[in-house]
């Protein structure tokens, strides 16, 4: 069996591919007519994708006997934050030119930005408390705090949904919303116990 450390190293490299791709496309002049829009949307899509992957780790652990899922969870959560950070920074920098006042005006004016911004602030809290020291220091409150991920997931879907609402273009949004809905439903205690039982049976 391959050691978990080895697997984590590979996952780390693979998780960087979406970022490397943007540099490759930029170098080749293939970011399209509106490069800022392209990189903003790309990093946004990868944020919600990594959010889904992160949320899938615990259910995978319940379903299978393998503890590796849990050991990868923090790294994947931090990748979610990493892409969210890029998404936010591109918007703050290339849409608002680092003008704080203008940025906050936008946060207040547009509801889809409001929820996206709240999700990002919550995610930052989770990222800075993702280390052992914080875990120790926060004790029981740590796991309570990190349940914010469920709120973040709902806000992220809302952010995406409202962004696409103007054009009634919901196809992709519904796919992500469906995945996140399933990942939240399996956390309902009764269902979670059922999933765990599958593991003990096999």
């Amino acid at each position: 069996m391959v050691a978990i450390a080895q697997i984590k190293r590979w996952v780390f490299v693979v998780a960087l591919i979406p970022l490397v791709r943007l540099f490759v496309l930029a170098y080749a002049g293939q970011l399209g007519a509106n490069p800022v829009e392209f990189i903003t949307r790309s990093t946004g899509t990868w944020t919600i994708t990594f959010l889904c992957i992160t949320l899938a780790m615990s259910p995978m652990h319940w379903l299978t006997a393998w503890s590796g899922w849990i050991q990868m969870r923090r790294m994947l959560g931090l990748f979610t934050f990493f892409y969210a950070f890029l998404h936010f920074t591109i918007w703050y920098w290339l849409d608002h030119y680092l003008n704080l006042q203008e940025m906050f005006a936008d946060v207040i004016e547009r509801p889809f930005i409001t929820v996206g911004f709240i999700a990002f602030v919550c995610m930052s809290l989770l990222a800075i408390t993702s280390n052992r020291v914080s875990m120790h220091w926060l004790g029981r409150r740590w796991s309570q705090l990190h349940r914010l991920i469920y709120l973040i997931a709902i806000l992220a879907v809302l952010h995406y949904l409202w962004h696409k609402a103007g054009k009634n273009d919901f196809q992709t949004v519904y796919i992500y919303a469906g995945i996140i809905l399933v990942l939240l439903i399996v956390r309902i205690p009764v269902i979670r116990e059922q999933l765990r039982r599958i593991k003990t049976r096999s």
């Binding site: 170098y27 002049g29 293939q30 970011l31 399209g32 290339l94 889809f112 054009k167």
Partner: protein, 322 residues
């Protein structure tokens, strides 16, 4: 004719040879990626764009009606389009519009006119002298382009059919054929795409019945073979692939205002003072190849065409009639 923009230093522009070299390099990379099933994810438009035969459309430059701003590249203007009949993504029209049959093509001019007529595209091309006009195009989404269009004032066509005194509006209906347009499968809008202008707006000399761009016949993704360009209004007012032009007494219901009346009004004049409910219209991102660090520019009332059209709206509250 070329215009130099002092804000772009020549050293910032990637020389063509190097750009092509990089593209070739990317193609090779994408070929490698294709083996891993990631080809399309890496190549983007490098392979995606079908090569259509390009046909020249001679036209005489109308200088007073042409801006001297930096033009958007042909490549950008033909690969970043909103034409939902071919899909929701900006790249979709360039990928899927190839199926559109632009010949034979007829346009019916009907309604409250003395001489209703159905004209063939060849007859339409010859109806008036072809002009080139370099217009700013401002999309309601907050980006803009500068494009040389080829066409003639819509008033030439309208005068020919002799509008009745009771004609107050002009309705424009675009083609909606599910066999040619895969995007129609999705109920994004109530198809066919419908737009409209008030009679005086339609007769304004800036309103261009358009057959070409960059000195060639319109590419299919840009609304071939015949479209409208109304430069002082948001881009969605400039309907593509027209099949019917109908003069009416009542204000026609347009596709976008039917879909979201609070967001898209009948007039939809470019107006930095009236925000879209979900974003500000004060600035725009000009697509002119300056790259990701180029600052956005201020949006002008009537997209900078106020001297020609502001008078059409004298006494109207443009916050109410957005």
């Amino acid at each position: 004719m070329t215009f130099k923009d002092p804000t772009i230093h020549p050293s910032q522009i990637t020389p063509r040879a190097i750009a092509e070299d990089r593209r070739q390099w990317l193609k090779n990379l994408a070929l490698g990626g294709a083996a891993l099933g990631m080809g399309s994810w890496l190549e983007r438009e490098a392979f995606a764009k079908p090569v259509a035969p390009r046909e020249k459309l001679p036209a005489k430059l109308n200088e007073p009606y042409s801006t001297r701003e930096n033009q958007t590249s042909y490549e950008d203007a033909t690969s970043y389009n909103n034409f939902y009949e071919f899909g929701m993504d900006k790249e979709d029209p360039a990928k899927f519009a190839e199926r559109l049959q632009t010949r034979p093509w007829t346009v019916s001019i009907e309604g409250m006119v003395k001489k209703p007529v159905t004209l063939d595209i060849d007859a339409l091309l010859k109806l008036a002298p072809m002009e080139e006009r370099v217009y700013r195009l401002r999309c309601v989404e907050g980006w803009s382009m500068v494009i040389p269009w080829n066409g003639y004032a819509l008033s030439h066509l309208l005068n020919r059919v002799e509008p009745l005194g009771s004609a107050k509006y002009v309705e424009f209906i675009s083609l909606a054929d599910p066999k040619q347009m895969p995007g129609l499968k999705r109920p994004v809008l109530d198809w066919p795409y419908r737009e409209g202008l008030r009679m005086d707006e339609a007769m304004n000399p800036l309103t261009l019945l358009t057959f070409g761009m960059y000195g060639e016949l319109l590419p299919k993704q840009n609304g071939a073979p015949i479209r409208l360009i109304v430069p002082w209004k948001y881009g969605f007012k400039s309907s593509k692939s027209l099949v019917t032009i109908r003069l009416t007494e009542k204000q026609p219901l347009t596709s976008w205002s039917a879909s979201a009346p609070r967001e898209y009004g009948f007039y939809s004049n470019v107006n930095p003072a009236v925000s879209h409910p979900r974003w500000s219209q004060a600035t725009e991102r000009r697509i002119d190849g300056r790259g990701i660090f180029a600052p956005k520019i201020k949006t002008e009332p009537f997209n900078g065409y106020g001297e020609y059209v502001a008078k059409l709206y004298a006494g109207m509250d443009l916050r109410k009639f957005y």
